[in-house]
């Protein structure tokens, strides 16, 4: 069956992208990870990688064309497979992160999955996928302790998180953690407002983007899972930038000791008070149509008109993965009870000694800005007027400046 590689989401507020390079032509064979194209928005250009192997059987755009975001950029199939067949077949629509590699490779470089015989047996017995492990043995081999570390972690699921380098650079990496119902690609448009030298990475929270769900995960076990995933990625010193639930996760990671969090920027953070709009969560999770979804997503903005079409399409595309949608529902049930947030980051903020900023939109309809009071004296609070739950979209230049100031304050 043919698989589609989609035009990537180049920005939440953008629906079109220009094809500035095409590295394949009809009939070409591509391997997983091959660079197939480059697309460009007004602000940045993005490389598109093949996430699967196959022969290019359909290539609707040519160089210089303006392509629709999240429409098929090309179709991969068997050599000689008719395009009509490929179109008839239900397109294997994947989320907006389709063009991104999913799991950390255990042996970067040569692509060989190394593991000890015992690790293989333990993995098979416990239903673990070795491809999801970062091995700590010789040449990246997966050994007993890698399996045991994973098994010993309480309530951990069976899989690692998806990471994606968003920008190369030098220094301690800045890691972006998205909010509930989103994924790491949502940060791409915001990055154009940052001129930091540091490398930037995004991660997909469990049950979001390319990360599998965590079984029965409450807030603490989600945080522990993310902290371990960061450590397994070799991210020992990080600047964390989080939005909403992702901000709460970022704050709580500071309690873990590993990784060491050099600075903390919390955008519209959850976990500062008990209130959250439970109707929004329920409605957002239940919405199946573009119309319903756009009504709920509009609530994220102070100005509903600023809801980008691409955001609706990306969310719908992600919802096509029933497993992820179900995982998000289960996660929501453990994180929220109606309109109550079941976790708090107040203790983490009180104990955190590094530079820390909290940025909230006064018009936030999801998490009331009024809850961001009584913060510890060393935490800076920025209350932005005319901004809703997405300051990084509605006040992107300012929020970008604040992120840079926070990162630089860590020295």
């Amino acid at each position: 069956m043919a698989e589609a590689i989609l035009v990537p989401q180049v920005g939440q507020d953008l629906t079109e992208a220009k094809i500035v390079a095409l590295h394949v032509k009809l009939g070409d064979k591509v391997k997983k990870g091959d660079l197939v194209a480059e697309v460009e928005s007004e602000k940045a250009s993005f490389e598109v990688e093949a996430f699967a192997e196959g022969t290019v059987i359909h290539l609707p755009y040519k160089l210089g064309d303006i392509a629709t975001v999240l429409a098929p950029l090309l179709l991969l199939g068997e050599p000689g497979e008719a395009v009509a067949d490929a179109r008839d077949a239900a397109p294997a629509v994947v989320g907006p992160t389709a063009a991104m590699p999913v799991a950390p490779q255990s042996a970067p470089g040569d692509g060989i999955l190394r593991s000890s015989p015992l690790a293989r047996r333990l993995a098979a017995r416990n239903g673990l996928d070795l491809r999801r492990f970062a091995g700590s043995g010789p040449k990246g081999a997966i050994i007993r302790r890698d399996i045991e570390t994973r098994m010993a972690a309480p309530a951990f699921g069976t899989a690692a998180l998806a990471f994606r380098g968003l920008k190369a650079g030098t220094g301690d990496p800045v890691v972006f953690i998205h909010g509930f119902g989103s994924d790491l690609s949502s940060w791409r448009p915001f990055l154009s407002h940052l001129t930091l030298a540091n490398p930037m990475q995004g991660l997909d929270l469990p049950a979001h983007g390319a990360s599998p769900p965590l079984d029965d995960a409450d807030f603490e076990s989600t945080v522990a899972h993310v902290a371990q995933a960061l450590t397994e990625q070799g991210l020992d010193n990080v600047h964390l930038v989080g939005h909403s639930l992702g901000a709460a996760v970022a704050a709580a990671i500071t309690l873990h000791g590993k990784p060491r969090v050099r600075s903390l920027t919390l955008i519209a953070p959850a976990g500062l008070g008990p209130r959250i709009d439970g109707d929004f969560i329920a409605g957002f999770l239940a919405a199946q149509s573009e119309a319903a979804l756009s009504l709920w997503l509009g609530g994220l903005f102070h100005d509903r008109a600023s809801l980008p079409q691409a955001m609706i399409r990306a969310t719908l595309a992600a919802r096509a993965d029933g497993q992820l949608a179900a995982g998000q529902k289960r996660a929501a049930a453990r994180l929220f009870e109606g309109s109550t947030q079941l976790f708090s980051i107040r203790e983490a903020l009180a104990l955190y000694a590094g530079p820390c900023r909290v940025i909230v939109g006064i018009e936030d309809a999801i998490i009331p800005a009024a809850q961001a009071t009584g913060l510890p004296g060393h935490v800076a609070l920025h209350r932005l007027a005319g901004v809703g739950h997405l300051p990084q979209v509605e006040a992107a230049p300012l929020v970008g400046r604040l992120v840079m100031e926070t990162v630089r304050a860590a020295g």
């Binding site: 000890s116 015992l118 690790a119 010789p138 050994i143």
Partner: protein, 333 residues
């Protein structure tokens, strides 16, 4: 329990068995009037007389031939060969006669023959007096191969050897004769094919025999200071080999280091490794490490002699490799 030396434990075994069974006798170079080069047979001549404790000329082929023949005829001879290196003169009697006789007579003919000898490096006695040749005998079906590392095992195994009916290569180590350990008085039997866990541990199985056992125990003590618990398994007899105990230990620790003093090539360690990977591949978390002598004749120079056989640090390094630990601590030394 009282502590006595390895050589005293051996003497006790011979003494007790000679007393118990008048078929037991011992021959060898300088073993009667001089009491043996390593003083194992001291006092036996006076006690049992020259018919049962007999000096021989320097003629190993003849001594071994006499012993094998006497065993076939129903006696229980002990032939002491001064160095295992010299046993090569009697190989036809051992390999083609003693080892085959039982099978070729349909099980009627037995060869209750014990060749006591010693091997191993130590003290600069050079290439013709330092070899560890257990693999030669291990390779021959029909020969039992016994390599005690401790005084109590030396006594118990030798007593058992003198009560069973097949040819036994009883290989002692020149370094061990003066070592002391607790040895039960009187009846103390160690059956063949029963390994002994000299030190329990959960992290890595170290299999060693003969003089490599004390060396493995020193390494285990050093590893324990780093929090690594090595289990030292001494098979005590290589033929028959207690694979059950070895495999059970591997199942507990998932990592194996095999230490042999003999040269690496064609050694018993390689064979034990092949048995483990065949029987317990999916228990292994790391490649099996073999620490062995270099593939060279043992040099006369003491420093070179030391460099040619496994030392404590070699065992420590191998254990750390098996545990996927970087060898920093050792490199810093």
């Amino acid at each position: 329990m009282r502590e006595i030396m390895y050589r005293e434990a051996l003497r006790e075994a011979i003494d007790e068995e000679m007393q118990r069974n008048s078929d037991v006798f011992i021959i060898g170079e300088g073993i009667a009037e001089r009491g043996g080069s390593y003083k194992v047979t001291e006092g036996l001549l006076a006690k049992y007389g020259p018919r049962r404790v007999r000096d021989t000329p320097i003629a190993e082929a003849g001594m071994i031939g006499v012993g094998v023949g006497a065993a076939i005829a129903g006696a229980r001879p002990i032939v002491e060969i001064l160095y295992v290196d010299f046993a090569m003169l009697g190989m036809d009697m051992l390999v083609n006669q003693a080892a085959k006789f039982r099978l070729m007579t349909g099980g009627d003919g037995r060869v209750p023959f014990v060749m006591r000898t010693q091997g191993g490096a130590g003290g600069g006695v050079a290439a013709q007096h330092s070899q560890s040749l257990e693999a030669l005998f291990y390779h021959i079906p029909g020969l039992k191969v016994v390599m005690p590392s401790a005084p109590a095992d030396a006594k118990g195994l030798l007593k058992y050897a003198l009560r069973q009916d097949d040819p036994v290569m009883f290989l002692e180590h020149k370094h061990l004769y003066m070592t002391k350990g607790p040895v039960p008085e009187g009846e103390h039997i160690v059956e063949f094919g029963k390994a002994d866990i000299k030190r329990p541990g959960r992290d890595v199985t170290v299999i060693a025999w003969s003089n490599m056992v004390p060396r493995a125990l020193e390494a285990a003590a050093a590893l324990a200071e780093e929090g690594i618990e090595a289990e030292v398994v001494d098979p005590r007899t290589l033929v028959p080999l207690d694979t059950e105990t070895i495999l059970a230990s591997v199942a507990r620790t998932n990592r194996v280091v095999i230490v042999q003093e003999a040269v690496r090539r064609g050694g018993v360690a390689s064979d034990i490794a092949s048995i483990i990977q065949e029987e317990a591949f999916y228990e292994l978390d790391a490649p099996i490490e073999i620490v062995a002598g270099l593939n060279i004749p043992i040099p006369f120079n003491l420093e070179l002699e030391k460099a040619s056989v496994p030392q404590k640090d070699d065992v420590i390094r191998a254990a750390r490799r098996a545990l996927h630990i970087q060898p920093m601590a050792i490199a810093a030394k």
